[in-house]
Symmetry: C2
Subunit: 94 residues, 2 copies
């Protein structure tokens, strides 16, 4: 099953839920910003992650975004400032 | 000049710079999360935005990420929880 690279970003209004969401997403990918992760996922992985997150968040207050970036090697990132290393396929620093 | 949709996300460690970065990015797109924007930009717009942000951030402490999502209509978003409307081309709510 082909894996796509997903950018997962979240706005979680409660500190306890925030930690639990971060811990959950850490199981699936790498943190590139405080509340932004990159996850290389099959559709089954994505469904599992969403199922697990749905049990943690409060849907009326919290928000999780999944952006399908396609095949990992084809994704173009640019950065300004101090940054964390990306998962194996690279990025261009501006 | 073809416009691509960029996801712009930032980690800014100082509240004053944070406000200035948000104000700057607001000139180029729409906020979809607290520190995540979608901006439909030509390469010239992107260069201008990066130039303006470089004058605001502290590169040793702050971090701005630009992800080229390609042509706006081809981008796939999924959301969990409460969300803000996206710019005109749509998203799929899970």
């Amino acid at each position: 099953m082909a894996r796509h690279r997903y950018l997962v970003a979240y706005d979680i209004s409660d500190p306890v839920r925030l930690r639990r969401v971060a811990k959950t997403v850490e199981d699936y990918g790498e943190r590139i910003q405080y509340s932004v992760f990159l996850c290389d996922l099959s559709r089954a992985d994505l469904a599992e992650l969403q199922w697990r997150l749905n049990r943690v968040i409060t849907t009326s207050a919290d928000h999780v975004l999944f952006v399908d970036l396609g095949i990992p090697s084809q994704v173009t990132f640019e950065f300004l400032g101090h940054r964390r290393p990306l998962p194996p396929t690279g990025a261009r620093v501006v």
